[in-house]
């Protein structure tokens, strides 16, 4: 094995060699550069191999056998080796990527690049302060040189500003170092750390100055304007290098330096880090230049790593796993994104829509974003999980909150950007494709997935990339070129197969949810057979969601649960985003969902209290004072998914704008994930009190108000799918209400809603979707009179609305009957009033749905409309049959759950299912007799009417009594628009969009704050210098003043 020193030597030597080469030997020079970088990478790689797999001990190197400052002191361990490999690889890729530029600029540029990589490695390796200074100076100078490679004229200014700031940094560093050396007599970091106790009074100041110098290189808020200018104007390959390599190296330098200061300086690092993280993310919200946005994101990520460094003591042996995970994820993702940005011609975020024509590039983009946000299965996800647990276990809740807040902001702007990529108008010549650049960018994707696998292996929580459902979902990525029908068949088979293999191992509750989610999903997917094209991107997304659902049901540990949750969230986000106008709605969906998920993360972390392998069942053992908080955090997280009022505003748009077969997927199935979570939560944690308030009572109110508001808003919608979406809010409110009643029948009712809502909402969404497909509109007032043209869709809708409204004999009535029995024993009666009011309101929107679409007057342009396509009608008919069967024998599904729930309520069974009559403590109900009696009455009367009225003359639609007049045009005679005007007069005030206004104001506030504050980055070098000084002074006053 070659000494790591050779990494430096190779870099220097090759740079030197380049200087000797004749000017014309461009190719040779380039070859030398690549070779040198590859050699450096090979050395670093071989050491990494040795450290990681062979357990070699770190090596300590002293050149020339003396102490610094007369020689160089290196130490190379696992961390150093992996970072050096990162440096060398990014350098190599940069060299490949910049080939044209390098050729143009000649061998000097190549030499500078080599020096840069060598210097960053030096920063990483060096163990003494003086050489740290030297290497950092080298980095600075070579950075200044590399910035100039850019074609952008602003790069010159940016480089200059960078040099100004760097001079300030150097002075700070040098002064600090002199003092420190004077105080301790050594330059070795470990030596200084050991001598810490001997630091004389001014030693703290010396250390402070050094720390400030290194931190300043990390571009902390607000002293980071220069960094942004570099990101914005430099060549993308260099920006990648600057973000990935410089960032990583400097972070490591800071890490080393903090060894000297010891534990008391760690909080400062965390504080500076978290402020930078949050503020940079806020600023990033208002960026529309891609590279500047990436710059802000880089600054934020480095801030996050600094925060983690500050928590080093808490993390213990997880420190390198967490910090490394975030650091590597950041480096790879940022390098990848910068490389991609070199392929995109224009600099606006929307211009990235050019990627859309190339699925591979879109996949790369998604990978990088997921990597940055820390979605499973990428390293950031594991790191965040560990970090959150460590923080929560040690009471650092504020820090955890801030980190999650910042992460949410980051996710918001990154996913917004992703929305642009998929949804904005695709520029014709938006791409500057070049095979080598593309390859470089794609190599980052490979690395990303390798890292994902590696971190999964290291996590100790089980590797997500070995989970079969996830692999099955990922399998659809390479299969995406197949025709949609084939993929659909595979997907359906997968869902049914997985359920078939696993159902024996489910308990009754899991079985119900699994049946709704997996075979239920398969039935809805039948509608997808209708598509003709390849439908690129649909199946990976859909199957990702199903993978998440399948894993969710089986999750035993909190980690598995949370990972499944994130997967299904992301999968459904991609699904929703496919809708034509769904870009803003998908964004609000993902932001709310991730917000909820982060709350869950905090909840789980709080509950685990550092236990690494926390079982879901162990939630029951969580003790005061955490228990109510855990409960609240998890409950809000789950309620975000069920769209309880307050966090519901994402739902209507997301469900309405989704594609025809996606709406039932996300409404009929996805919402149940939240209910499943709530079930699990309530079954394990039961009732909790916070400040004397029973939390389930709060949920009771939320459920009731959701039911009311959801229903109320539904009746005022003109858009059929929006109507159904609001209705989902109401229905989920009912289910939440049932759960929160905390009694046996309440839970049974919630389960009944799970099944019912799945069936009828899927059916209605499909039916309405089919109609919308045929009529080309979702506005109900543009339809009307379609009953004769689309009879099957009408039947599905009619059965659906009878079931939703709870009128006997269909299964909705069962839900109401159990509901009444449940509230008989509920201890808290006031919210019932609201639920009672919500009930009949459902009639209003249901009637409107069927009337304005299928009844009334047929419009001219819809006269030739045909019945919905077979594959959309087929699942509806299956649902009709299922609904009738479930209405007749509800016990088939429910009695087992009833028995399963019994132990939670003192063992007594809730209902008596014996015979045909279902009996409760208070009443009884016999579905078969009801169906029979009503059927006989109905049939008799119908026969009688047929007999007496057999000669009825069918007439055309306009043959109506119109005061002797002739009706004018169907659109004036179809009473449909603003259908419930009198209702709006009476109760419209309840539909004020208070919640929407609240969230909009919040977003607006964040945006305008960012917009105002970012003006301090004037682009002027002197201002930036002042920022830096101000930063140092403020930190000094706040920190040293407090010491």
């Amino acid at each position: 094995m070659v000494s790591p020193l050779y990494i430096i030597a190779v870099g220097l030597g090759a740079a030197f060699l380049l200087g000797l080469l004749p000017e014309k030997w461009q190719r040779a020079a380039y070859g030398v550069t690549l070779l040198a970088l590859a050699l450096m990478g090979w050395i670093a790689g071989s050491w990494l191999w040795a450290f990681a797999l062979q357990g070699a001990a770190p090596v300590e190197i002293f050149t020339a056998g003396t102490q610094p400052p007369f020689a160089i002191n290196f130490r190379v361990g696992l961390a150093e080796a992996s970072l050096a490999l990162l440096m060398a690889l990014t350098g190599l890729h940069a060299a490949l990527y910049m080939r044209d530029t390098l050729f143009k600029q000649g061998r000097r540029a190549m030499a500078v690049l080599l020096i840069f990589v060598m210097a960053t490695c030096g920063v990483i390796f060096t163990r003494d302060l003086f050489n740290l200074f030297v290497f950092m100076e080298l980095v600075v100078i070579s950075t200044g040189g590399l910035v100039l490679l850019s074609a952008d004229r602003r790069a010159l200014g940016a480089g200059l500003k960078y040099l100004i700031v760097s001079q300030l940094v150097s002075i700070l560093m040098l002064v600090g170092m002199v003092f420190a050396y004077h105080a301790t007599g050594t330059l070795n970091i470990d030596g200084m750390a050991a001598a810490q106790v001997d630091l004389f009074k001014g030693g703290a100041l010396a250390f402070f100055l050094m720390l400030m110098a290194v931190l300043a290189e990390l571009k902390p808020f607000p002293a980071n304007g220069w960094g942004l200018d570099i990101y914005e104007s430099a060549h993308p390959a260099f920006a990648a290098l600057f973000s990935a390599a410089t960032g990583a190296a400097t972070v490591y330098a800071a890490d080393k330096l903090l060894l000297i200061g010891g534990a008391q300086w760690l909080p400062l690092a965390s504080a500076i880090g978290i402020v930078t993280f949050v503020v940079a993310n806020i600023f990033a919200l208002v960026q529309d230049n891609d590279r500047r946005l990436l710059g802000y994101s880089s600054i934020a990520q480095v801030g996050l790593i600094l925060t983690v460094i500050g928590q080093r003591d808490l993390l213990g042996e997880q420190y390198y796993f967490v910090a490394g995970g975030i650091l590597l994820a950041h480096a790879v993702a940022k390098a990848g994104l910068f490389w991609l940005s070199g392929l995109v011609a224009a600099r606006g975020l929307g211009d990235w829509a050019a990627l859309r024509g190339h699925p591979v590039l879109v996949f790369a983009f998604v990978t990088f974003i997921a990597l940055l946000v820390g979605l499973p299965p990428f390293p950031g996800f594991y790191a965040k999980w560990e970090l959150a647990h460590a923080l929560a276990a040690n009471g650092q809740l504020w820090l955890l909150g801030l980190i999650l807040f910042g992460a949410l902001l980051e996710a918001a702007y990154l996913f917004r950007w992703f929305g642009y990529v998929l949804k904005r108008e695709q520029p014709q010549t938006g791409l500057l494709l070049q095979a080598i650049k593309e390859d470089v960018a794609l190599s980052a994707v490979v690395v990303a997935w390798l890292l994902a696998y590696l971190w999964g292996e290291l996590s100790g929580q089980g590797n997500l990339l070995q989970a079969i459902p996830l692999l099955f979902a990922l399998l659809f990525l390479p299969l995406d070129w197949l025709p949609a029908k084939l993929k659909n068949g595979l997907a359906v088979a997968g869902l049914v197969g997985w359920f078939y293999l696993h159902y024996p191992s489910y308990d009754a509750l899991q079985l119900i949810f699994a049946a709704v989610m997996l075979p239920g999903g398969a039935i809805i997917l039948l509608a997808s057979f209708q598509t003709q094209q390849r439908r690129v991107g649909f199946y990976p997304a859909a199957m990702l969601m199903f993978a998440g659902l399948a894993m969710l049901i089986e999750a035993k540990t909190s980690f598995a649960f949370f990972a499944a949750w994130e997967l299904l969230t992301v999968g459904s986000y991609f699904l929703i985003l496919r809708g034509k106008h769904s870009e803003p709605h998908a964004l609000s969906y993902i932001v709310f969902s991730l917000g909820g998920a982060f709350l869950m993360l905090a909840g789980f972390a709080l509950a685990a209290q550092g236990v690494p392998d926390f079982k879901i069942a162990a939630l029951a053992q969580v003790a005061e004072p955490f228990a109510p908080w855990v409960f609240a955090l998890l409950a809000i997280g789950f309620m975000t998914k069920t769209a309880a009022v307050g966090v519901h505003i994402w739902l209507p748009g997301a469900h309405a704008e989704a594609e025809t077969d996606v709406s039932p997927l996300v409404s009929g199935i996805l919402l149940k994930a939240g209910l499943f979570g709530l079930f699990v939560l309530l079954m394990t944690m039961g009732k909790q009190q916070l400040y004397g308030v029973e939390l389930t009572h709060v949920m009771l109110w939320i459920g009731a108000i959701s039911a009311l508001i959801g229903n109320l808003l539904a009746i005022f919608q003109e858009d059929a799918k929006r109507l159904l979406a609001y209705s989902s809010i109401g229905q989920m409110g009912y289910a939440l209400f049932g759960l929160a009643m905390m009694n046996h029948l309440g839970w049974l009712m919630a389960l009944m809603f799970v099944i019912n809502h799945y069936i009828y909402k899927s059916m209605l969404f499909l039916s309405v979707g089919g109609v919308a497909k045929r009529t080309g509109t979702r506005d109900m007032y543009r339809m009307g009179g379609l009953i004769t043209l689309m009879p099957l869709s009408f039947i599905a809708t009619m059965i659906g609305i009878i079931a939703v409204s709870g009128v006997p004999p269909l299964s909705g009535f069962g839900g109401r009957w159990i509901f009444y029995n449940a509230i008989m024993t509920a201890e808290y009666r006031l919210p019932m009033v609201i639920i009672f009011l919500a009930g009949p309101i459902a009639f209003l929107y249901l009637f409107r749905l069927i009337h304005t679409i299928f009844l009334g007057q047929l419009k001219d342009e819809l006269r030739t409309v045909k019945e919905a396509p077979f594959w959309i009608v087929l699942p509806q008919m299956i649902f009709v049959v299922a609904l009738l069967v479930f209405a007749l024998v509800p016990g088939m599904a429910l009695r087992h759950v009833d028995a399963y729930l019994a132990p939670f309520f003192g063992g007594q069974s809730g209902l008596d299912w014996a015979g045909l009559t279902i009996t409760s403590e208070f009443g009884y109900w016999s579905p078969v007799s009801i169906m029979l009696v009503i059927g006989v009455i109905f049939a008799t009367l119908f026969a009688w009417l047929l007999f007496v009225n057999r000669r009825a003359q069918p007439v055309k639609q306009f043959n109506i009594v119109f005061a002797g007049e002739r009706p004018f045009r169907p659109e004036t005679t179809h009473f449909a628009w603003n259908f419930f005007a009198p209702y709006r007069k009476a109760l419209g005030f309840l539909t004020q969009p208070l919640v929407t206004i609240f969230w909009e104001t919040l977003t607006e506030l964040l945006h305008s704050a960012a917009d105002i504050l970012r003006r301090m980055y004037t682009g002027n070098g002197q201002t930036y210098a002042i920022h830096l000084l101000a930063f140092v002074i403020i930190v000094y006053l706040l920190w040293m003043g407090g010491l």
């Binding site: 009666r829 009033v833 069927i850 009334g856 009455i937 009417l945």
Partner: protein
């Protein structure tokens, strides 16, 4: 064996309903110093409507609307025991309890709304809009009252609720839980299609609203329901709040008296607009219902 008895109940109630509504109309006429319709006028009208020679239909749902409507009425009657203590006139109450009756009320309404809507007449749709809007508010106090009564007697079985009220007038829910009864009776006014809550039909404004296109035997069926449904509904009220009926004469008397409540109010008050009636229910009736539920 229940079926003939149920048919008998049906027969009795339809005839009683036809006569009683005519009688009440006659009483109303007498208040206006008119002679009023003959007591058998309802029969004649119904017969005439069945005897019409031509009719038209706007489509399948239009045809089925009256069937739904009458099924709703018949079903509601038969799912509730008519005579307390009589095995013969318990009808099909074994199929379900109070909740079944409560929700089955909507069966006819919904079916009728669908049928009327298919006629394509805008006035039908407007009438339905009004009816449904008003219903949401009018049913609320009733639901609360039912809940209060169920809580009071700790059962949802109609028979048991009636049983609990036996043994003297003072055992009636009317006296044991007056708040609930007051709320329910207010709701009752709203569901009887009489002034001040008859804006749904509004003959001069939207020619009788939903059924504006219905005629001949369709109309005859709805007329049958018009006689049957109020009685069926009153039976529920009677059983819940007024001690039920032990025999047919008691049944006739109580139903008549309860019906007269809405008739009395109807001849005195003018018509509410929809939003006014919604507010009226929410302001006056619902608080009573809430009190009943909370205090029980």
């Amino acid at each position: 064996m229940r079926i003939p008895w149920a048919l008998l109940t049906l027969f009795i109630v339809i005839n009683y309903g036809l006569l009683m509504t005519a009688l009440v109309q006659k009483i109303g006429a007498r208040v206006g110093r008119r002679h009023g319709i003959p007591i058998w006028q309802n029969y004649i009208d119904m017969l005439k409507n069945y005897a019409l020679r031509t009719s038209i239909t706007h489509g399948v749902m239009f045809y089925l609307g009256p069937v739904f409507r009458l099924s709703g009425g018949v079903g509601l009657l038969l799912f509730v025991p008519s005579i307390y203590g009589s095995e013969m006139f318990a009808n099909f109450s074994f199929a379900g309890d109070l909740i079944l009756a409560l929700y089955f009320v909507f069966f006819g309404t919904l079916g009728m709304a669908l049928g009327a809507a298919e006629s394509g007449h805008p006035y039908s749709a407007i009438g339905i809009t009004r009816g449904l809007s008003q219903m949401t508010a009018a049913e609320l106090p009733f639901a609360l009252a039912v809940f209060a009564v169920a809580l009071q007697y700790q059962t949802l079985s109609v028979t048991e609720i009636v049983a609990a009220q036996q043994g003297g007038v003072l055992h009636w829910t009317l006296f044991t839980n007056p708040l609930a009864v007051a709320a329910a009776m207010m709701s009752f006014l709203g569901s009887m299609m009489r002034p001040p809550f008859d804006v749904v039909l509004a003959p001069q404004e939207i020619p009788i609203g939903p059924p504006t296109e219905y005629h001949s035997s369709f109309l005859a069926m709805m007329q049958t329901n018009r006689a049957l449904f109020p009685v069926a509904k009153i039976v529920v009220y009677m059983n819940l709040f007024f001690g039920g009926a032990g025999s047919w004469p008691e049944f006739f008397l109580k139903v008549f008296l309860i019906y007269m409540v809405s008739a009395f109010v109807g001849v005195v008050f003018p018509r509410f607009r929809v939003e006014q009636s919604i507010r009226w229910f929410l302001i006056w009736a619902v608080p009573l219902g809430i009190l009943a539920v909370v205090l029980v």
